[in-house]
């Protein structure tokens, strides 16, 4: 028996197949302009006859009519993170168009959360826009900034930061230095935001940026609390959805 978890985020749609113990398959697609297509495509590619229960989450969670249940990304991210690393007591997620921090209790239940969904600064979108100006692929970010000295980016707003970077480039500033400045800026902002929850225990960092060591270590230096990730960080929401689905099936049995 398997359960399927699908996370329809603003940038990517992720899905995992769970057998009760481990994640047996993963899939990821760009959400693109048509989130309904992406979520259905991913569902079809992962679904098989042994899937007993499907849970959808994320912005587009309502687009998958065949799902047995829809659960918010807050609950799913928390559950997924706790599955990947049971020692954590909080989750910080930088998504494509929002940012959230979730506080867990010792039983790994959500006790409080905050969301920033009003402003692009502090989200994956910010990094995306900045990398486009630098004409660099985010995939190489770790090696790109290695050994560089960060340039302080002062603008809080995506639009102003964009023009700040354009003028830095015009002055001949080093691209790697600028990129590191951008990373510092988003991590600093994320840590101020997350600290509103009075975090104390270890943190799980999820979302697309969590796969890059530079984001993890920078975030950790601002938060001054151990920050963990996992190779499956990006799938935390989908994993949580699948895990919750599995528990539901077991309880029903």
């Amino acid at each position: 028996m398997f359960t399927l978890g699908i996370d329809s985020g603003s940038t990517t749609t992720k899905g995992v197949l769970f057998d009760g113990e481990k994640i047996v398959r993963t899939g990821i697609l760009p959400t693109s302009a048509n989130p309904r297509d992406s979520i259905h495509k991913l569902y079809q590619s992962l679904y098989n006859d042994e899937v007993a229960y499907t849970v959808s989450t994320g912005y587009g969670r309502e687009l998958l009519e065949t799902a047995d249940k829809q659960i918010t990304e807050i609950t799913c991210h928390a559950r997924g993170a706790a599955f990947l690393n049971p020692t954590i007591r909080a989750v910080v997620d930088i998504g494509g168009q929002d940012c959230k921090a979730v506080l867990l209790d010792n039983g790994l239940n959500v006790v409080d959360f905050i969301m920033n969904d009003k402003c692009a600064a502090g989200t994956g979108r910010f990094i995306e826009v900045m990398m486009r100006i630098l004409e660099e692929d985010i995939k190489n970010i770790d090696s790109f900034v290695e050994g560089h000295e960060p340039i302080n980016i002062t603008s809080m707003c995506t639009v102003f930061a964009e023009s700040e970077i354009v003028s830095l480039l015009a002055k001949g500033a080093d691209k790697g230095d600028i990129a590191l400045g951008i990373i510092n800026s988003i991590c600093r902002r994320t840590s101020f935001f997350a600290q509103k929850l009075n975090l104390t225990g270890d943190i799980f960092f999820s979302g697309g940026l969590a796969q890059f060591e530079i984001f993890r270590s920078t975030l950790e230096s601002y938060l001054k609390i151990p920050v963990h990730t996992s190779p499956l960080s990006q799938y935390a929401g989908a994993i949580g959805a699948a895990v919750i689905g599995y528990n539901k099936v077991k309880r029903q049995a």
Binding site: T72, I74, D112, F113
Partner: protein, 384 residues
Amino acid sequence: MQIKKELPEIFNDFGEMRKKSFMAAYELKQKDIPFVGTFCTYFPQEIALAMGACVVGLCSTSDETIPDAEKDLPRNLCPLIKSSYGFAKTDKCPYFYFSDLIVGETTCDGKKKMYEYLGEFKPVYTMELPNSQSPIALELWTKEVIKLKEKLESHFGTTITEDDIRKQIRIMNKVRRAMKEFYSLMKLEPVPLLGQDMFKVLYGSAYKFDKEALPGEIHALVEKIKAEYEQNPNKYPKAPRILVTGCPLGGGADKCVKAIEANGGHVVCFENCSGAKSFDREVDESNPDVYAAIAERYLSIGCSVMTPNRNRIELLDRLIDEFHIDAVVEVTLQACHTYNVEALSIKRFVNEKKGIPYMAIETDYSTSDIGQLNTRMAAFIEML
């Protein structure tokens, strides 16, 4: 003075709904009933009622007139203030339009400064509301209540006797008891009606101008709901019981209530203005000094414009126990400093003293954040 009796020039451009509410107000005006427009729960209604006036609430909660207001007022101002000012400027609200006198209070900074501009094109009288509840404050507020009576007498060329006031105190206390009886229905588990429907009644009651008839109507409604409940107590499934507190909700922010109820929660109690805050306390009928009795009752309202604001905590404490509340949702309006600042102490009280979850949402009267609101509320209720 002459009271205003004719319809506004732009009347014919209005939609049906608005025409209807204009006509309802128009008919009252034809009976020579003066309108006193108000903005706040601190307004001592009994004084105006004692001269036979209709007391109309002018707090507007739609974003329709905000662009008009922003021509004069800063953008980052509370939407309630902007919306209200916008309606006054555009003659789109019958109650504004027909108000023969508007009475404001020095509550929050945005409102009291807005009254200065409002006074340029409407007759406005501002009462000085103290921002604490000390004995000195009460002394000032008692004088302000008497001054209001004198202002109404001179403005409308009438006399208001203490007996008239005493009579209105008794009537309004009956209204308060009736409204309390109504919202106390929500102590039932499972609930007999949806929070959004309860809110309509609470909010609508302010626009029922026959205050003597109101308790009877409310009582009949209570009986009807009780009878239906006996027939079918499980109409609404058991769900987490939510208390809503914070800024006045009105029509524009009821999206928060809907978001709670669409995502598995049940709003069983409103502490806001229009809710328990407006009805909880009665005026002391045994006090021979009617002004002191009125001043005492109104000044003790627990709004965040007061410092400290212990009475809000005291009321929340009671409501959370009486209504078996599972979680508290605070709805604040953007740029409402007093409520947004006070949110932390409410969170502390709710989490630490009452041991239940608390969530704050900051919003306005637009519909642009409905998606995010739904996610937040769903996640909050999943956590209960």
